[in-house]
Symmetry: C2
Subunit: 423 residues, 2 copies
């Protein structure tokens, strides 16, 4: 029962909502879409729900899908459909005071479709986009609530405990490394395995490989881009471990590791027959270094490549649900009056039990700030991560997602994608 004195009359903002997906895809970005769509379709403030084809570009081009025409059951299949079902984009808006062409066009489309809610799913850059759009709309006197939904396997967003997408990629990586570990050790003569993991500036995903190590089947050495890469110490470490383990050594390395002079390790100097430099990836570069330095052992290199960010079949059930909640929360907060925030996660540990609360982070704060792995979570030698990392990452990979299959193969969402027309 509400007391009269506590009653707050919220001004209801009635209008359409648009949702867009931006940046590199993850396993659970579509789960956030499902959360946004479900809550928006159920909201009594939102008159129409649109999905923008290829993020902001879809709005500029009036390529908006009418989500109301989709089957509700089909929308739930989005929870376990990897990648960006609406199409993504990498598009950076100019500053409005330098060139406001795009902003004017956005305002035009917003007005045409009576869009009063703008939800955008992405990383740092996308939150910057949200922020700029919101400012322009305010300055133009057009009422519109803007809410960011976080996503990035890189886990580098500031202000949130973790990012949707990270837990699933981390689980895929740890699981795959445990399996590769078994595979690589079957012969009586060992094998050095170098595994390249995504993360150009932040080492969260590569660090997650430690979860395989704590189960006794993971890397012996872990190299993050947070620290400069010491070539000689690397060779020495691999030699020592291989010698002690019958030629076996497993190495997990971030794609973005650099030498102390700032040069990428991946830039190995390999040239093709026309003399062009081949940027072959860091695993290939380290493999070449080891084959030359330690020729007595077999060396094998593996790039997890796109597999690690779309491997929904090995996703984290918790990540899928949190991503869904993030989308749902964005809608609920916006319809209740909030604007200019990005949804974030707050970890609560109680009696060793993990729960995840939702919070709101001002767009102006989250945009364009990268969160790195803290130095104190990396060992002193700089070639492994410690128990603080394990404690952080382990709760995020729990639970099996409800991954639908048909004929033994993934059953992804089948959207009609009916292009909307303004009323």
């Amino acid at each position: 029962m509400l007391l009269a004195g506590a009653l707050v009359i919220m001004k209801k903002l009635i209008g359409a909502a648009v949702f867009g997906q931006s940046g590199g895809p993850t396993s659970v970005i579509n789960s956030s879409a499902a959360g946004v769509f479900t809550a928006a379709l159920d909201s009594d403030c939102i008159t129409k729900v649109y999905g923008a084809a290829h993020g902001i570009k879809g709005i500029l081009d009036e390529q908006l899908y009418d989500i109301g025409q989709e089957d509700r059951k089909e929308l739930l299949y989005l929870k376990n459909t990897p990648s960006s079902a609406l199409g993504s984009v990498r598009y950076k808006l100019a500053d409005a005071d330098k060139d406001d062409t795009d902003y004017k066009r956005l305002l035009e489309v917003f007005k045409k479709f009576d869009i009063r809610y703008f939800f955008y799913n992405g990383g740092n850059d996308s939150m910057d986009t949200c922020n700029k759009i919101s400012k322009f709309m305010q300055n133009s006197g057009y009422e519109c609530r803007v809410m960011g939904v976080p996503k990035t396997i890189d886990n580098d967003l500031w202000g949130t405990d973790h990012c949707p997408g990270f837990g699933s990629a981390a689980k895929y990586i740890a699981t795959s490394l445990m399996e590769v570990y078994c595979d690589a050790r079957v012969y009586d003569k060992g094998c050095i395995i170098v595994i390249e993991i995504m993360g150009r500036n932040a080492g969260w995903l590569t660090g997650a490989s430690v979860l395989a190590s704590v189960k006794g089947a993971g890397p012996d050495l872990i190299y993050l881009p947070e620290l400069p890469f010491d070539r000689e110490k690397f060779i020495e470490d691999v030699r020592r471990i291989s010698n002690a383990n019958n030629g076996n050594c497993m190495i997990a390395v971030s794609e973005g590791v650099k030498y102390p002079d700032g040069k990428y390790v991946a830039d190995s100097g390999v040239k093709d027959k026309f003399g062009h430099a081949q940027l072959g990836g860091v695993a290939g570069a380290l493999g070449a270094i080891l084959r030359e330095a330690i020729p007595e052992y077999r060396v094998r290199t593996i790039e997890l490549s796109l597999l690690q960010r779309c491997g929904a079949h090995c996703g984290s059930g918790r990540d899928v649900e949190e991503a869904f909640e993030a989308g749902k929360t964005a809608v609920e907060m916006a319809t209740s009056g909030k604007t200019d925030f990005c949804v974030g996660f707050e970890r609560v540990m109680k009696d060793g039990e993990y729960t995840c609360g939702m919070k709101l982070i001002p767009l102006s704060e989250i945009a364009n700030t990268e969160k790195k792995v803290p130095r104190e979570w990396i060992n002193e030698e700089g070639n492994f991560v410690n128990e603080k990392f394990v404690e952080y990452a382990l709760p995020l990979i729990q639970g099996e997602p409800n991954y639908a299959r048909e004929d033994g193969l993934p059953r992804f969402a089948r959207l009609k994608k009916v292009i909307a027309k303004a009323d």
Copy 2:
């Protein structure tokens, strides 16, 4: 009730059994081990059950694990533990009439441990090994029953409908390709993806990528090693498909494809800074060809590498069970008097329902013969496989394995591996 006239008195052969794993590992080779161990421990003919460390080498070196000391529950975890839990080996026995040193040593160890049953899990070469050992034991007057258990992701064993390990690898490949397909198509400008799949001489695994295509999310072009690779036609095909699909084209290719002159496509002519040839894999080579020939589109290459043969988390439940049955059948047949056979699979289709029967193939017939993908299962142009392949492969990837997890990560079998001493 047995009629007296039909009663056959089978001579019981009482003694120990040894099981070894040989060749490249698969997701389900340990499931066959579980089948062998379970049946052998339950048999009233078998006095002791040994697991050979690293196959035949473990017997030569008397490195035999006493399986009777393992926890029975732990042995069942083997069903979903990828790779070779006992350790594998690539060791080719000499012909006994040229050099019988190894054979004499084997006989010595067999006698010392009273081994009367020899079970060996492997591909063509391993069946050859079984055959040679059996002949030598017979010629030496030592009674011993020898039974092969098939395995190979390559699916190239003669005389069996399919091989344990193939279904799981095929499922992993088709699932991963469907996910990569989604990931690669998110931007408004497309991407050419080249995916390298195992199979040096037989294209079964690469052909299995068609299962993703029939679900609308798989390769546009499939190249098997069964046919010579036509570079110019390949470029033309990729250009045509990319042009018609906004720059998108997905290509699945066997690691072993060769040009008409017999040279591997993987031998691309790329050299490192010391001028050494880099055998970078076929995906890298085709990627380089496409970047040069069709520079207007982005090209990305992915090697499924070891992941595809140890990805038990995405295995076929049917494959896991069939592999277990193959091991069990080998023991049952041997204790009932059979010798010199390899267990094989017979497919029975009744009213569209698949069932798999066990059969016995003479070792002398299965050894050293490779089964290739029939020409009539490949399209006329040589750049795809047809519905006959789909019909063959689809039943083999059905069913979800009971993949145990602990803390969200794989729970593999933990064997004690107690080294046995002869009584």
